[in-house]
């Protein structure tokens, strides 16, 4: 039942044997030891499992791994720390940290599309990510800060 898929993971060519029902989050965790994308609600409602597939954010707890054949997959573990992560640290925009990677990835995607988002833009764009600790005011602050950092650099 398992078949091999080949894809690029954080820039590196990799392969994995996956079963048809296995999700992207499971394969990242079990085959590659990557834990930054994590299953929480299991329904694509909370954003903790956010992964970028071909530069688009997907819910990794629902996205089947077999669909990643030949895809470019990027996770929070990719690359050097950036302005968005620095902004989340500086603004204190995290508490337990479980949702944080999802927020960071979505913030990057937001700022790529819209370098100067209004507060309303931020609230709407990130509304699919949940933070039970409710660090939302600080997250909004972090996104604004990141936009500013990016514009300056």
């Amino acid at each position: 039942m398992r078949r091999e898929i080949r894809f690029r993971l954080n820039g590196e060519a990799v392969a994995a044997q996956v079963a048809p029902h296995e999700t992207l989050v499971e394969v990242l965790r079990e085959e590659f030891g990557l834990h930054g994308a994590r299953e929480s609600c299991g329904q694509g409602m909370c954003g903790c499992c956010t992964v970028l597939v071909n530069a688009r954010a997907v819910s990794g707890c629902l996205y089947l791994a077999s669909l990643c054949d030949n895809a470019d997959v990027r996770t929070i573990e990719d690359g050097e720390p950036d302005a968005v992560q620095q902004a989340f640290v500086d603004a204190g925009a995290l508490q337990c940290g479980f949702c944080t990677p999802g927020f960071v990835l979505m913030t990057r995607q937001l700022l790529d599309e819209n370098p100067e988002p209004s507060e309303d833009d931020i609230r709407h764009y990130l509304s699919g990510n949940l933070c039970r600790c409710a660090a939302y005011p600080q997250i909004i602050e972090a996104v604004k800060l990141a936009a500013e950092k990016r514009r300056k650099s």
Binding site: G42, G92, Q95, C96, F98, R132, Y136
Partner: protein, 756 residues
């Protein structure tokens, strides 16, 4: 960047140090039990009861056992072979590791399938068939008092905690604990009062939903057990497992890394006994990760009913108050009895009332168990007494803030128990709320179908007592410092706060201090991370430990004839001839406490009081009943903040969480006790679109003199006033009074219809 021997004169306390683990969290590398995979590990999937109350007639696991890849299926009877009395719990030993003889709620664990592949285990669990002889069930907390449906045949008090020692075993009752307080003569004063008001309030059952669902793993040998668990109370887990197994505590090791949220869900003992027993029975590591859905069947927040009655004089002074509170504890007591008592005694609110009567009841029902959730019952009480306060003020024609001011419990005055209020800035919190919300300025109440209102509420809490924290502070030969404590950092920032406290004493930058996470083989005992107790209790213990280390270093300097300002590394180099050795300071903190007498009275009920107030401005759409919060003001007495930014995040985070419990969150059960909305698709928690347009947080200038550097706990403070402030503001906007939570559009609209 951490520097091992960074020495500084800069004060560490009062600095907004970014969380020590910030980079681990923004890069996804923080350690959670969620991530853990052990060699040879089996995954467990739980088969759950489909009836609310019934005798187990038969559990057929044959089909599940026959699935390829299934290691083994276990039921309660298998557990009994290892532990004859496999019942656990902090207040009562009432909860079986897996259901035995009876099931008591829909969703109760009945059997477990173990497999190396969790998908196989899940598929097999679906093939288990159980037959029950159904029994009458009870769901409502008030009905449970007189119901013929009895959830537990015999009550089994645990007697573990000194404050719950009075809990006695009973039969033929659903009342797990009843707490009574009698101060003065409430009935006589009520008869003398000019006006008497009586109201009834309800709160609904909700769930913590930490985004890292409950998870535990166990590995074992013949003589030892290691538990990796997302727990707020590793010391309690160790004690309880050792008791169940009849082992000494040193054979049970409990490790806790970061928690992906807790809020009270991960307290005491949850999955730990199950994974421990399964590991011992299979001699394999076993892990159970709950799904979000399963969390709703594990632990919840008490639904409650509160009847409150007050007698008021012509001058608007409250002279008598009766409080009758029923707490819906669900099928297992968990910490409900402590909620009933510890929160129960603050039921009259932060008001100076000479004649008080409190009856507070912890009830068993056939619903998922209820325990502690960010406030330990306080938000349920404040919901009632602050709604009641506003309703009386409006009836009496007195401004609601002025009415509160006339009756406020002030510094130096005895609270209902007789314990005198000290370092509790109730008056300041009220005063700052009044200023920040511009209470005296005219307010635009809107027009047409969009009406505006504003409201405030204040609440207070007595920190649970008596509880103990111990800590150790290790200074290495290079001068670097490690703090050992069993406080779990579940997002509240305790690692950072403890590092700041140790750093303050030892003149080190907090960023250079390492905090070792709970590991009962390594870190000393701590009662638990709960009820906003850790900053105060563990903070005091860490401070004492750091002072002890500092004294030992000073003694070494003297012994070695080194100048008092010599570098720490010099001490060790001179003593050992090289970079070697270390100094360990220890600290232990246990506040004094006096148990309540037969009237519920004591002059020493708590080591500190927490005070929180909320002000809101909102809009009500009279066509849809939708409430939109436009301004949320959170004010708290948190003593002197150790880390102002983290304090602010705690205040606003708690208030936003409570906003969900106020406006929309509700576990919905059908008439057979089946939960209908156990998922984020149907149970909504606050997201960015629910955030008020403006949020203001303020810690009033205050000092908790007995706290570490004037500090006290803050984790729950922001929750206290939110719900009643919103109800009061809705009344201000549209003149209708809601007395049940949540105040969703449907509920508000129905009230508006009644009034039309």
């Amino acid at each position: 960047m951490k520097r091992a021997t960074q020495s500084t004169e800069t004060p560490q306390v009062g600095r907004s140090v970014p969380r020590l683990e910030s980079w681990l969290k923004v890069t996804g590398r923080a350690e959670y039990v969620h991530n853990l995979r052990l060699p040879g590990m089996l995954y467990g999937k739980i088969f759950r009861s489909s009836v609310a109350h019934g005798r187990i007639k038969r559990i057929d696991v044959a089909a599940a056992q026959a699935v390829g890849g299934v290691h083994r299926v276990f039921t309660g009877e298998d557990i009994r072979k290892l532990i004859p009395e496999p019942y656990y719990g902090p207040a009562f030993h009432d909860q079986p590791v897996l259901a035995l003889d009876k099931v008591r709620y829909v969703g109760e664990p009945v059997a477990v399938v173990l497999a190396a592949d969790p998908h196989v285990a899940e598929e097999a669990a679906h093939l288990i068939v159980a037959e029950y002889e159904e029994l009458p069930a009870v769901y409502d907390e008030v009905e449970a008092v007189s119901s013929k449906a009895i959830v537990h045949d015999v009550l089994k008090p645990a007697g573990t905690f000194p404050d719950l020692k009075h809990v006695k075993g009973r039969t033929n009752t659903n009342v797990a604990l009843d707490f009574h307080l009698r101060r003065g003569d409430a009935a006589a004063a009520m008869a003398k009062a000019e006006r008497v008001f009586e109201h009834r309030f309800r709160t609904q059952q909700v769930m913590h939903t930490p985004l890292e669902p409950l998870v535990s793993a166990a590995e074992s040998t013949e003589s030892s057990l290691t538990i990796h668990t997302a727990s707020q109370s590793p010391s309690f887990v160790r004690m309880e497992l050792a008791r169940l197994l009849g082992w000494p505590e040193n054979r049970v090791r409990v490790r806790v890394p970061f928690l992906g949220g807790g809020f009270g869900a991960k307290l005491y003992i949850k999955l730990e006994a199950l994974v421990a027993v399964l590991s011992l029975l299979t001699r394999r590591p076993v892990k159970i990760s709950l799904t979000m859905e399963e969390q709703f069947f594990t632990i919840t927040k008490h639904a409650s009913t509160f009847r409150i009655k007050s007698g008021v004089t012509r001058e608007g002074r409250i002279i008598a108050r009766e409080c009758e509170v029923w707490w819906n504890g669900g099928a297992y007591a968990d910490i409900g009895p402590r909620v009933t008592q510890k929160s129960g005694f603050t039921a009259p609110g932060p008001y100076d009332i000479d004649n008080v009567l409190i009856d507070s009841y912890a009830l068993y029902t056939n619903l998922p168990p209820a325990g502690a959730l960010r406030g330990f019952g306080i938000p349920q009480l404040v919901w009632a007494y602050e709604g009641h306060t506003d309703m009386m003020a409006r009836e009496l024609g007195i401004d609601p803030i002025e009415f509160r001011r006339r009756n406020l419990l002030r510094e130096g005055r005895p609270q209902a128990t007789g314990t005198v209020l000290r370092d509790a800035a109730v008056d300041k919190v009220l005063e700052r709320l009044e200023t920040l919300i511009d209470w005296k300025k005219p307010f635009d109440h809107g027009s047409g179908t969009l009406r505006r209102g504003r409201g405030i509420a204040i609440g207070f809490k007595a920190c649970v007592s008596p509880t103990t924290s111990l800590a150790a502070v290790n200074v290495n030969a290079d001068g670097s410092c490690i703090v050992y404590c069993s406080t779990a950092d579940m997002g509240q920032g305790s690692d950072t706060a403890m590092a700041q406290i140790a750093g303050e004493v030892l003149n080190m930058a907090a960023e250079s201090v390492t905090v070792v996470h709970s590991d009962t083989d390594v870190t000393p005992y701590d009662m638990a991370t709960l009820g906003s107790r850790s900053l105060f209790h563990m903070g005091n213990a860490v401070k004492l430990a750091a002072q002890d280390a500092k004294q030992k270093l000073a003694a070494l300097r003297e012994e070695l004839k080194l100048p008092p300002d010599s570098e720490v590394s010099e001490i060790f180099k001179k003593k050992y001839g090289m970079q070697a050795g270390n100094v360990v300071g220890t600290g232990s903190y246990l506040p004094s406490y006096k148990s309540p007498d037969q009237n519920g009275l004591t002059d020493n009920a708590t080591p500190f009081w927490m005070v929180g107030g909320t002000g809101v401005e909102l809009e009500v759409d009279t066509e849809t009943g939708r409430v939109r919060i436009t301004r949320l003001i959170n004010v708290g007495d948190v003593g002197t903040p150790i880390n102002p930014r983290i304090v602010e995040t705690q205040l606003s985070g708690a208030a936003i969480m409570q906003l969900g419990f106020t406006l929309f969150e509700k576990m919905q059960f059908d008439d057979r006790g089946q939960l209908r909305n156990a998922s984020f698709a149907e149970y909504k928690i606050p997201g960015l679109l629910d955030l008020p347009a403006e949020i203001l947080n303020e810690a009033v200038v205050a000092e908790q003199r007995s706290g570490p550097f004037g500090a006290k706990g803050v984790g729950e403070t922001g929750t206290f006033g939110v719900s009643p402030a919103i109800a009061n503001a809705i009344h201000d906007a549209v003149g209708v009074r809601l007395t049940s939570l949540p105040m969703n559009p449907e509920a508000v609209w129905e009230k508006l219809e009644e009034a039309r």
